[in-house]
């Protein structure tokens, strides 16, 4: 019977109910957009975190000199351009050494790659594939003195067609990124000639190195445009023995912040600084924080407006229907049944507005995703129930005062014959 009363009473006041539902719709749409964008973008950012196996990047320390003009700084004479390969073992001697899962150095250089027909400028990356590093001074006597590490340890999910370079002394093999392979038209087993030409005026001679492609790497990242060889090959080709540009460190620790690793490594190797990946994605995160903060405020305002809209509708509904309420009480409706009737009505308004608002919010989220983050926003199963729940809760809360008014109606007064 309650459903029958509800259905007929709502059907009779369609336009008023629609107005209240639209009020809820506004709030629900903004709330949907907020939840969808923040859930999706946060997930994307954290996916980036996970994808980026190394969560710590060790780079040479670069001091700068302020020249008294905002935004303009000079590289200092003390600037370090390389990290010494001979110091890398120290990374495994910090307090949290057991949480260092792996590290791998990189020495980069733009070189010409040629398969005999085509020539292409590519980034040559010298690194460790599967290297045993000797820990010269272990942190504790019981610590192992050998540590096997390399690019495979850091990035085990890289898709490799062919095989990894397994031997750390292999100077004849190369792995190429899929984009390089495509541009040069090389496949596994093909020969590649790498030519390094120093800049005009710079020291060193033009050198070449021949290598066989043993594997093709797909990461969907910058690595697709690089050629990977053992570190000593890159060092030899570019005349930088014992030097590396960066070291990627994979640190796993749930109890300690990754910043701790960075500062510990800086203490062990004074000429470097550790940058956490968090810092690298900070800009993205702060944009997200700003947008979600702004949207949270807009959502709160919109939900407040929704609540006001529902409250106005419910109040006028109670005033319009005071005789009906008085009659219901006169024929035996206890307060809880009047409360149930009006709150059910509010919940229906909330659900209708919430569902429509969800649809609108999904569109709004796409607009925000494309215009602010330049990415489409995926839907989350969680958002629909959350928005429906929120809309219904707002509608119910906004109805409390009107319902209280309804329960205090005195039948004797409103049903008076005159």
């Amino acid at each position: 019977m309650l459903m029958r009363i509800l259905r007929k009473s709502l059907a009779r006041r369609k336009s008023r109910i629609a107005l209240a539902a639209v009020a809820v719709l506004m709030g629900a749409a903004v709330a949907t957009a907020l939840m969808t964008v923040s859930l999706d973008v946060t997930e994307k950012v954290s996916l980036e975190f996970r994808k980026y196996g190394a969560n710590l990047m060790v780079v040479p320390r670069s001091d700068t000199i302020d020249v008294g003009f905002p935004g303009v700084q000079l590289g200092s004479v003390t600037e370090q351009r390389y990290i010494n390969e001979s110091e890398l073992w120290k990374i495994k001697t910090i307090y949290w050494r057991n949480n260092v899962l792996g590290f791998t150095p990189f020495l980069y250089q733009v070189v010409e790659a040629s398969d005999g027909n085509d020539t292409q400028d590519v980034v040559l990356a010298g690194t460790y594939f599967n290297k045993e590093v000797t820990i010269l001074e272990p942190y504790a006597p019981q610590d192992a003195t050998l540590f096997r590490t390399g690019i495979q340890e850091i990035n085990p999910w890289w898709k490799v067609d062919g095989q990894w370079i397994g031997d750390p002394n292999d100077t004849r093999s190369a792995m190429v990124g899929t984009a390089v392979a495509e541009k040069l038209g090389v496949g596994i087993g093909d020969e590649l000639t790498l030519t390094y030409r120093p800049l005009v005026g710079a020291e060193g001679n033009t050198t070449t190195h021949g290598a066989t492609v043993v594997g093709i790497i797909t990461t969907d990242g910058v690595e697709d445009n690089q050629v990977f060889v053992n570190l000593q090959v890159a060092q030899g080709l570019t005349s930088r023995p014992g030097k590396v540009h960066t070291v990627q460190v994979s640190a796993l620790c749930t109890k300690c912040p990754v910043e701790t690793f960075a500062s510990e490594i800086e203490a062990k190797i004074p000429s470097v600084e550790g940058k956490t990946v968090k810092q690298l994605v900070n800009a993205e995160m702060s944009t997200l924080d700003m947008v979600t903060g702004l949207m949270l405020m807009v959502t709160l305002v919109a939900l407040f407006a929704s609540a006001l809209g529902v409250m106005t509708t419910m109040t006028s509904s109670v005033i319009e229907r005071r005789k009906e309420i008085g009659l219901m009480k006169a024929v035996g409706a206890e307060r809880r049944k009047i409360v149930a009737l009006f709150l059910s009505e509010a919940a229906i308004i909330g659900a209708l507005g919430g569902a429509a608002g969800f649809a609108g919010g999904v569109v709004l989220a796409q607009v925000i995703g494309m215009s602010v983050f330049s990415t489409s926003i995926g839907l989350h199963a969680l958002v629909l129930p959350a928005v429906l729940g929120l809309s219904i809760a707002v509608a119910l809360l906004a109805s409390l005062l009107p319902v209280r008014r309804a329960t205090s109606i005195e039948p004797a007064i409103v049903l008076r014959g005159e």
Binding site: M1, L2, R4, I5, K8, S9, A11, R12, K323, E324, G326, L327, M328, K329, A330, V331, G332, A333, E334, R335, K337, E410, P411, A412, L415, R416, G417
Partner: protein, 234 residues
């Protein structure tokens, strides 16, 4: 003689602002009787009916209905007591406009206990509206609406039926139909208290109480109500 189903002692009702609607009313109503209450406008007769109908509370005095002192009951307790003991018939019918005749009656069942569509239809048949179950109030004549109102008052089988000017908005023919219906209910044993302005209708009751300025000014017993005697004899 049947016992008293309603006893009212020293009943006073003061409204905010000092209006004295009832000023020391004492009366008792026998079970199965038909009592009419008359008096000029503003004399307090509707207030008396509302207090007996548990729609209003007394300021002073005692009201005992079916052995329950209702003066001290809270709002929800009064509602529960009312739905179990009292059926209300209004001058303006007060039907829910968007519910059909049948649904208006079922609504009273819903608020009372459980909905029984057949029982509701039977109540409407009893008042001669078996063919108008699915009509909205706006599709019914005044007399028919009043009969729906009576069916709604009866559907939960209360022992007491209170009617406030039940024919006040009806033409003569419809008014007569409604009074015949009330008379039939009286014969079935319901205790009926009816407020009316009309002296011709007032004399249909076993007893007429006249209220003037919130006091009983006249109490005329026309007959011992025969149906109660029959009931007692049985």
């Amino acid at each position: 003689m049947a016992g008293d189903i309603i006893e009212v002692e020293r009943l006073r009702k003061l409204y905010e602002g000092g209006t004295r609607a009832l000023d020391g009313v004492d009366l008792s109503i026998e079970e199965g009787s038909w009592t009419t209450i008359v008096g000029p406008s503003g004399s307090g007769k509707t207030t008396l009916l509302n207090i007996i109908g548990c729609l209003d509370s007394p300021s002073e005095g005692r009201v005992v209905i079916d052995d329950t002192e209702v003066g001290g009951l809270g709002q929800d307790e009064l509602t529960r007591f009312r739905k179990d003991h009292i059926g209300l018939v209004f001058q303006q019918y007060h039907l829910v406009p968007y519910l059909t005749a049948l649904e208006n009656v079922m609504m009273a069942q819903y608020f009372h206990s459980i909905v029984d569509e057949e029982g509701a239809a039977a109540a409407l048949e009893r008042v001669g509206l078996g063919h108008r179950l699915d009509h909205l109030p706006s599709q019914l004549s005044g007399g028919e609406q009043q009969r729906v109102c009576i069916a709604r008052a009866l559907v939960n089988e209360p022992r007491i039926l209170l009617a406030d000017e039940p024919t006040g908005n009806l033409d003569q023919a419809n008014g007569r139909n409604v009074l015949e219906l009330i008379d039939a209910l009286h014969r079935e044993g319901h205790t009926i208290i009816m407020v009316t302005h009309n002296p011709e209708i007032a004399v249909m009751g076993d007893r007429t109480i006249e209220i003037v300025d919130g006091k009983v000014s006249n109490d005329t017993r026309r007959r011992e109500h025969p149906h109660a005697q029959e009931a007692e004899a049985a």
